[in-house]
């Protein structure tokens, strides 16, 4: 397993997709802070929800980066997962890996570990850029720099990593199932950005919401609930989420494990032609 992880790490560290994604997530975070800062200083019409400058200071940065992490970061994770798994088939590198010696499952789990480590790195980039942006805002505004409690930073980090990990696993599983990166990332993005949203709305509308509990089991309903649980009075009033943070964590872990295991079964059973 260690050999496989080393190999996966070596090939991914210069992979343009990871480097570009890291840059994109950093740019999105800076943009989010920049736009919010502008909106906080220029409230404009009442039609647009006002942004409080208090949400942009370092003590709120964990709550604030949740907006960059989901759904945009999650979409990037799907794209990366689909590229990583699907390109192994289109480049013929799957057969190269499988003829080297480690078993199919060892190779797959090594790949997942290396991929999820990259999701951790992208999460770190998101948090570092978010924290740095909040310091810039606070410095310009002459506000004291105070940080959230370490435990809150750790919880926030865990949340974003889990959301990236699950969405990355969707991409990995689709890439493995379809054996093509382009089709896999297309299907993954359409699911997250459209299919799930429409399906949940439909389910919620049946029999006056009698089946809402089914909608609450969808993957990104739980991701939404988990990221929205990071809030504070500075962000204004917020509705009580239908899914608790604890339930969301359990459901997301279940999806992660399920997707990785299903893909492992496919890799183990299928011929590589």
């Amino acid at each position: 397993m260690i050999a496989t992880i080393k190999s996966e790490w070596r090939k991914n560290r210069f992979r343009p997709a990871f480097l570009v994604s890291s840059g994109v997530i950093a740019a999105i975070t800076v943009l989010l802070y920049g736009v919010s800062w502008y909106q906080a200083l220029n409230p404009g019409t009442a039609a647009r929800r006002a942004v409080s400058i208090l949400t942009l200071y370092p003590d709120q940065f964990v709550n604030n980066v949740m907006g960059a992490g989901f759904p945009l970061g999650a979409a990037i994770a799907i794209v990366l997962g689909a590229l990583i798994a699907g390109s192994e088939y289109s480049w013929g590198t799957m057969k190269t890996s499988l003829t080297q010696g480690p078993g199919r499952l060892t190779m797959w789990f090594g790949r997942v570990v290396a991929f999820e480590a990259w999701m951790g790195i992208i999460t770190v980039i998101l948090f570092v850029v978010g924290a740095a942006s909040s310091v810039v805002v606070a410095s310009f505004q002459g506000h004291t720099i105070a940080w959230p409690a370490l435990i809150d930073i750790a919880k926030g980090f865990g949340t974003i990593w889990l959301v990236f990990a699950v969405n990355g696993a969707i991409g990995l599983a689709l890439g493995t199932l379809i054996r093509s990166s382009a089709a896999a990332l297309g299907v993954g993005l359409i699911y997250v950005l459209a299919v799930e949203v429409i399906a949940v709305r439909f389910i919620d509308s049946i029999n006056s919401g009698a089946y809402q509990w089914i909608g609450n089991l969808f993957v990104n309903q739980n991701a939404t609930a988990l990221t929205q649980s990071f809030t504070s009075p500075a962000f204004g009033p917020s509705a009580t989420p239908a899914i608790s943070a604890d339930q969301a964590v359990v459901v997301l872990f279940a999806y992660f494990a399920g997707l990785v295991i299903v893909a492992a079964a496919l890799i183990r059973r299928r011929d590589v032609t």
Binding site: K11, G92, T99, G101
Partner: protein, 305 residues
């Protein structure tokens, strides 16, 4: 059984692969590759060569039948540890250099990174190893594929159509490389549809057609006896002289030609004896069946079709 001293390194019994669509790609193949030989696996496109090789490295599971590779089940870590394989086109990451690609493979195979430079040297790619794989020519890609297959210093090297897509010079270089590898005592299982390549490189061949192994023997056995063809006038007198020289069993008269079962090195003496008997010789040439003729005969394919 001591797997390192067994005389056969690849053994299959009734190896069969039927795809879900009902296509019988490989039909009850019994094949054996001896340790230390260069074995040519010949067949037309679509005959089942690649499917058989994929089964030998564990990429495809057989529908029925058995196989052992280096004494182990195909695809098992113990078996793969002793095999280097290049199946169809070389599979590498286009955004990495040739050297980095080999390092990725070396990590996966738990091979020392030092070995990467050794194999790059063997395939004469050292000077181009820093370039991205995506920019390589077809010949360089194939050579990098062979380098990847050599990383583990394997007992058995499986090369599936390594000359595919190469220009004549690239093909000649690849042939030399395979000859050199085989000369080092390593077993090479080479699949090809290039008959000249197999004839020049291989010790033994197996011919597969429509999924069935139709013959397996040494190249010499397959080509049959060498001989000499003579056309001379007067023919009856020439027949007497030749029969006197080689005996009646060695002389076959057919369509105005004499087929002599003798070493082509005798040509000068044949010519001298015929001339001494005032016989005019209009044709005298060595006779040897080409692998191409044998191949078309065995596979039932038409030459030039």
């Amino acid at each position: 059984m001591d797997n390192t001293t067994s005389t056969t390194i690849v053994e299959t019994h009734s190896l069969t692969k039927r795809y879900g669509s009902g296509v019988l790609a490989v039909n009850s193949v019994d094949m054996s590759v001896r340790r230390g030989e260069v074995y040519g696996f010949l067949g037309p496109n679509g005959a089942g060569k690649t499917t058989t090789l994929r089964m030998l490295v564990g990429l495809i599971r057989p529908t029925s039948g058995t196989a052992t590779v280096a004494g182990h089940t195909p695809g098992s870590p113990a078996s793969l540890a002793r095999i280097g394989a290049l199946i169809e086109s070389p599979g590498f990451y286009p955004y990495l250099s040739g050297r980095e690609n080999l390092k990725v493979v070396a990590d996966m195979a738990s091979v020392s990174q030092k070995r990467v430079d050794e194999v790059l040297d063997m395939v004469e790619l050292t000077s181009r190893a820093g370039r991205k794989f995506g920019t390589y020519s077809t010949g360089m890609k194939q050579r990098l594929g062979v380098a990847g297959a050599l990383l583990k210093d394997p007992d058995l090297l499986i090369l599936d159509e390594p000359s595919n897509g190469l220009d004549p010079q690239g093909m000649a270089e690849m042939r030399k490389l395979i000859k050199d590898i085989g000369a080092g005592g390593r077993t090479v299982l080479l699949s090809s549809h290039l008959l000249g390549e197999v004839e020049q490189i291989c010790d033994r061949v197996g011919v597969i057609s429509n999924g069935r192994l139709v013959i397996q023997s040494t190249v010499q056995e397959l080509l049959g006896e060498k001989g000499v063809i003579v056309r001379a006038q007067p023919a009856d007198l020439a027949g007497e002289v030749l029969t006197r020289m080689f005996g009646p069993e060695a002389v076959v008269r057919e369509d105005g030609y004499f087929h002599l079962k003798t070493d082509p090195g005798q040509s000068l003496e044949i010519n001298r004896q015929l001339m001494a008997s005032s016989i005019g010789v209009s044709e005298l040439r060595p006779f040897e069946r080409s692998l191409e003729e044998v191949f078309f005969q065995l596979t039932g394919e038409k030459q030039g079709s």
